[in-house]
């Protein structure tokens, strides 16, 4: 069924993602979770590495002031002092490199563990969400949580956070180094840095504005491409090519204009920033030179100037780095916000306590047995649950409030009483639906698109919960049955067949993971699918990809029927396909469906008159109301809507 009744999430919703304390806390809890010790080590490494690099910048000063200048002055050629000093510095550098190496290696492990946890948690949570979530969220948007949003986190955890920490440490350490070297020059550098940040903010803001525009027109162009490429054959048939080109060119030009503006601002940011850094560099040299010359060597030494020049660079670099990482962090926060939004979605609630168990029937008594016992019995008796003496049945295990426990055989008796339903709480789609399906009966729903046929069946297996009324299954309110067990007892063949990547055998086994190959093949035979599967290149081992696109629509349906057959549930819900498959395949599918229906309670959304005709009860739906009910003959005699549908005066969809 196409998603209905919901509003797709719009872009604005996606963008809104304020950085809140909670968000950061939650993100940090993922990060720190099991990694506290490792994170501590990483922090130490970052400190060591950044301090080393600051010392590395001070190194020139020491070299010049402490060794070269004295050597020049004294004129002797004793380099042993210098050599031992270089050895010491080499050791220090070695520590720095080691710390850097260690930090990188550990961060890789930490960040990938975090990403794995986030992805796994997200998927786990997604599996618990109600169908309505999938109806109301565009599939592309859900997918992008796993790709784009997780990717922004990768950026942040593996790069932004370490680089922010190390930048912060470098800035502090460099600042200390600068103040120690010369406070006058430090003030100069600080003023320069502030103006640099100001420029950065202005250009960054402009750039961001154009980037938003660029994204918008990119979306426009991509949307147009998607639509036209999808309908390319129609374009050809209508010789619409030149008109398509014109429209495309117009949109493409607009994108180009916006992209150019956005890129210009992004591109000029770096040279401007870099050169403001250079201006500072020159100013430092200039002022330093002035100080040295005018105020004498006491104010500042030549080694100090050289060293300060390096320090200036070392100070400016992390500042611009922080600003670059800010962008990544904001994006990651937005991504994390979207991820957590998914994780905060309310899962399907399930307060059911009645469970589905195997029982052995003994003298009118039901005795619960382990699943294996019943299954091995079934296997030993060719799929039959009874050999005349002993018989096994599915039963509802029902604990009552007073502590007693009752077992009730699963028969497939379904009743709906005065059921109202609405997808969104506003627009009611079902009104006062009451119906009664006795075990083994076939109930058909007919009516136009949107009349509510599929909705009714979705209520029985609790894809959606009803607003008012009651649904009872074997005289138990379905709200009391555990959802998993309820769904186990109901088999469904949907109109849109969804198969999974894997072999044909695996796809059939999807209905019952414990089924043997023989059981799967038996199910395929029952569903009339065996013939075509045997003719596939690798038979049951043929790999299916991309929703079984290698197979025809009819073949996919046959596999879906076999999948339901191997589950062997007491109640079946069948949504017949409307799509035109040719008459021969259709009759094969039909026979498969018929075999599956035998001996079960069946709800069928019928599109074929043959199916409708042999149903015990036919419900004719219109705008959410059951307007006629009865068997075929009585409804024909009534000459109402059913008669009109049947004689082809209305679309039967």
């Amino acid at each position: 069924m196409p998603p209905r009744g919901g509003r797709p999430m719009n872009r604005e919703d996606l963008k809104k993602s304020p950085i809140s304390k909670d968000l950061i806390k939650r993100l940090l809890s993922y990060l720190t979770g099991k990694n506290k010790a490792m994170l501590g080590l990483v922090f130490i490494c970052i400190v060591v590495a950044s301090v080393t690099s600051v010392l590395g910048n001070m190194f020139i000063r020491n070299l010049i002031d402490d060794y070269i200048e004295p050597l020049l002055v004294s004129g002797d050629k004793d380099f042993s002092g210098l050599l031992s000093w270089i050895r010491m510095v080499a050791c220090l550098f070695f520590c720095g490199v080691l710390a850097n190496l260690l930090q990188g290696q550990i961060m890789v492990i930490i960040s990938n563990n975090v990403l794995q946890n986030v992805r796994d948690d997200m998927f786990k949570h997604m599996q618990t969400l109600p169908i309505s979530y999938f109806d109301t969220h565009a599939h592309g948007d859900i997918m992008s949580h796993y790709t784009n949003d997780v990717d922004t986190l990768r950026q942040m955890i593996s790069q932004s956070i370490p680089s922010m920490v190390s930048s912060a440490i470098s800035i502090v350490a460099t600042l200390v180094g600068m103040i120690v070297t010369s406070w006058q020059l430090t003030i100069l550098v600080l003023i320069g840095t502030v103006s640099m940040i100001a420029v950065m903010g202005t250009i960054g803001g402009k750039s961001a504005k154009y980037f938003v525009k660029q994204q918008a027109s990119l979306g426009d162009v991509n949307g147009y491409i998607e639509e036209m490429v999808d309908g390319q054959k129609v374009v050809k048939v209508f010789t619409y090519e030149s008109r398509a080109k014109d429209t495309f060119d117009k949109k493409n030009e607009e994108l180009c204009a916006n992209a150019t503006s956005a890129n210009i601002f992004a591109n000029i940011l770096m040279p401007i920033m870099g050169n403001i850094g250079n201006v500072l560099y020159v100013l430092v040299a200039f002022v330093g030179g002035f100080l040295a010359i005018e105020c004498g060597v006491n104010a500042i030494t030549i080694g100090a100037i050289a060293s300060f020049l390096q320090l200036t660079k070392a100070f400016v670099m992390p500042v611009s780095q922080v600003s670059q990482q800010m962008n990544a962090i904001i994006m990651a926060m937005a991504g994390a916000g979207r991820i957590f939004k998914l994780m905060d979605e309310k899962p399907e609630d399930d307060n059911g306590y009645v469970t589905l168990v195997y029982c052995r029937a003994e003298g009118g008594q039901l005795i619960e047995v382990p699943d294996e016992e019943a299954i091995s019995f079934k296997r030993a008796h060719g799929g039959k649950m009874s050999d005349g003496k002993t018989s096994y049945v599915w039963a509802w295990k029902h604990p009552h409030g007073d502590g007693t426990l009752t077992y009730k055989e699963v028969c497939g008796d379904v009743r709906m009483a005065e059921v109202d339903f609405s997808y969104d709480g506003e627009k009611q789609v079902l009104y006062d639906i009451s119906l009664y399906a006795k075990p083994g009966q076939k109930i058909a729903f007919v009516g136009a698109t949107g009349a509510g046929k599929t909705t009714i069946t979705n209520l029985i297996n609790r894809f959606y919960d009803i607003a008012d009324g009651k649904i009872r299954y074997d005289d138990i309110n379905i709200n009391k049955i555990k959802k998993a067990d309820l769904r186990h007892s109901l088999g469904i063949v949907l109109q849109d067949t969804n198969l999974f990547t894997g072999s044909v055998m695996e796809n059939i086994r999807y209905g019952n993971l414990g089924a043997t190959d023989e059981e799967c093949i038996a199910a395929a035979k029952l569903a009339n699918a065996h013939d075509f599967i045997s003719k596939l290149p690798n038979g049951y081992d043929t790999e299916l990809t991309a929703n079984g696109s290698e197979l025809s629509q009819g073949q996919r349906q046959l596999i879906a029927i076999a999948r339901a057959a191997v589950a062997d549930p007491p109640v079946m819900i069948l949504d017949e396909a409307t799509s035109s498959i040719d008459t021969r395949t259709e009759s094969i599918v039909q026979r498969g469906m018929d075999a599956l229906m035998e001996g079960r309670t069946v709800f069928v959304i019928a599109h074929r008159l043959s199916t409708v005709k042999n149903s015990q009860a036919i419900m004719v739906l219109e705008n959410g109301h059951i307007i006629e009910r009865g068997d075929h003959d009585s409804l024909i005699a009534e000459k109402g809507k059913y008669y009109q549908l049947y004689t082809g005066a209305f679309e039967l969809e």
Partner: protein, 575 residues
């Protein structure tokens, strides 16, 4: 391949050349700065020559502003060049796509065409920008800085000449180790996306069979694989930074040791030593950049290949050199026509089709899935070319017509039909751009669409969502028929286009055809016998061959297949 892509630079050649030239100028300025600085230190500060400090200081500032200007300008030119290049790539691809025949379109899948026009272009655009700026910057920087080093002191320059290749070697080794792991990891990402996609799409199946845990296990195993590969690859890549640091530090220490001796011996000055340190950074960091560019280029290589594939794809159906631009009438002839989708002739889709259809006739076509019905009709507007034999429209081989003329004469309603986002009017105007409201209403009446369109609150201005999501299947089919009718064609082909329309409406549509467009040749493919039973002749196609041709009564009497189809439908339908 690259040459093909570069053809699309066109009017952006100027910025594409200016950007690297400006970058080169910027680099020269940047490389000059440490040198001037060393002069400032040696001759100015060291010798307490304030005038010299002024002179050099101003020179430095000039250099810097020049560098800033060059940098900013090159940024601007590069932005123009890469955005423009991307625009042209998209345009060229889209325009080439419009020339594609059906078999060209079949060759590329829809989703792959879309990726090529979107993601791939973005990748190439980014790489292009990289190339014209950084790919120029890094080598230039490397060379200029190296020259300056040699200029200052040959001995020290030699150190860099040794260390730089070592660094490069390590970077290459790391890259070669990590690259295949990254490739593998991207494949696993596809796998993961596939699991997610299947789950999102098939969530009803998952939930009905209570397979949540099974799916979670499946996902966890893929996600674990990704983690393991990512750790391996990133760990390798993370060696870059410590190796770079090692090289920088070693160079610094070696330069200090040798430099100190040189200074003491009077062969070098302190200022020169300082500038040497700057050059070390410039040289080694440009090497680092080179390695980054290589990664970028490798990533975009696949994209570039995919784009060039689409650009070089030649449509296999083109206009003849002196085309016929007039179609005499709506008669159709098939003369020993053979057709197969692939060039390998082993499995012919149609074999030995011989047929004559008079202008104005109504022809029904019946046959099972894969029997060749659609292939047969698609040859008429030359959506595909025959493998052998001849298809004639109005007595002329379809290959001799101007394609536009032919397709405007032959209107076809495809089986997999598409409406586009826009109003109903806009969609109808696909058939005729200047159609009046009356014309549109008229065709909609014939197609039995007017009644439901008028019932919409906005009538003919009702907005159709992408793919026609907000109209029912039957309504969509009727709109598509109306759209085709608006072309006022000599031949109208309906490829299973009334399958979702109920029988009564279907009959009305057929009646409308007979009444309003009697002169138009009508070919109707249908699953329902009732859609074709009143046709002048019915063609039964089976296994790519014409099984029988005749009227409803004749076929019912003589043809087993037709009878079988009829019986199976009658069973449910008639009282």
């Amino acid at each position: 391949m690259i040459r093909r892509l570069l053809k699309s630079v066109r009017e952006y050649k100027k910025p594409s050349l200016l950007a690297p030239i400006l970058v080169a100028c910027e680099v020269v300025m940047e490389v000059l700065m440490p040198f001037l600085m060393s002069k400032l230190i040696d001759k100015g500060i060291d010798q307490s020559n304030m005038n010299y400090v002024w002179k050099m200081g101003i020179l430095l500032l000039v250099c810097m502003f020049a560098s800033m200007a060059f940098g900013a300008l090159s940024g601007r030119e590069a932005a123009k060049a890469c955005s423009g290049f991307a625009k042209n790539l998209r345009q060229d691809m889209f325009h080439n796509l419009q020339r594609f025949s059906f078999s060209n379109i079949d060759k590329f899948k829809t989703s792959s065409i879309i990726t090529r026009l979107t993601t791939d272009v973005t990748n190439v655009q980014n790489a292009y920008q990289m190339v014209i700026r950084i790919a120029v910057r890094a080598p230039f920087m490397l060379i200029f800085a190296m020259i300056m080093c040699f200029f200052i002191n040959k001995k020290i320059a030699l150190i860099l000449l040794i260390i730089a290749p070592i660094l490069m070697l390590f970077l290459v080794i790391i890259f070669r180790y990590a690259h295949p792991i990254f490739v593998r990891m991207f494949k696993r990402f596809d796998l993961m996306n596939n699991v997610v996609q299947e789950n999102v799409r098939g969530i009803r199946v998952v939930k009905s069979f209570v397979r949540e845990d099974h799916e979670i296990d499946k996902f966890s195993s893929v996600s674990g694989d990704i983690r393991n590969d990512a750790v391996k690859a990133e760990r390798a890549i993370n060696f870059n930074s410590p190796i770079m640091m090692t090289c920088v530090y070693s160079a610094m220490l070696l330069v200090s040791w040798i430099g100190a001796r040189l200074i003491v011996n009077g062969e070098m000055t302190t200022g020169e030593l300082t500038s040497m340190f700057s050059y070390i950074m410039q040289i080694l960091s440009s090497l680092m950049m080179v390695s980054m560019i290589i990664v970028m280029i490798v990533i975009s290589k696949t994209s570039a290949e995919r784009i060039s594939e689409l650009l070089t794809e030649e449509p296999d159906i083109t206009n003849p050199s002196s085309p016929v631009t007039e179609v005499a009438d709506g008669s159709i002839d098939f003369d020993h026509v053979y057709f197969s989708y692939s060039k390998k002739k082993e499995k012919s889709c149609l074999s030995d089709f011989n047929l004559h259809i008079e202008s104005g006739e109504t022809v029904g076509i019946i046959g099972g899935t894969g029997s060749g019905k659609s292939s047969f009709v698609q040859l008429i507007p030359r959506l595909y070319d025959v493998t052998d034999g001849q298809v004639k429209v109005g007595g002329v081989d379809v290959r001799d017509y101007d394609l536009g003329t032919l397709r405007d004469t032959v209107a076809m309603v495809l089986q997999k039909n598409v409406l586009f986002s826009g109003t109903i009017k806009e969609n109808l105007r696909w058939g005729k751009p200047d159609a009046t409201d009356e014309e549109m209403k008229h065709v909609c009446e014939i197609a039995q669409a007017d009644s439901f369109i008028s019932a919409f609150p906005d009538g003919y201005d009702t907005y159709i969502e992408q793919g026609g999501a907000n109209v029912s299947g039957g309504q969509k089919q009727r709109l598509c028929i109306a759209r085709a009718l608006l072309k006022n064609p000599k031949i109208l082909i309906l490829d299973d286009s009334t399958s979702a329309v109920d029988t009564a409406t279907d009959a009305m549509i057929q009646k409308g055809f007979a009444e309003y467009i009697p002169g138009t040749t009508k070919l109707i493919i249908a699953q329902r016998v009732s859609s074709v039973e009143h046709a002048d002749k019915i063609i039964v196609i089976d296994n790519g061959e014409i099984n029988a041709v005749g009227t409803h009564e004749e076929l019912l009497r003589d043809n087993a297949i037709y009878r079988e189809v009829y019986e199976s439908q009658k069973k449910g339908g008639d009282q």
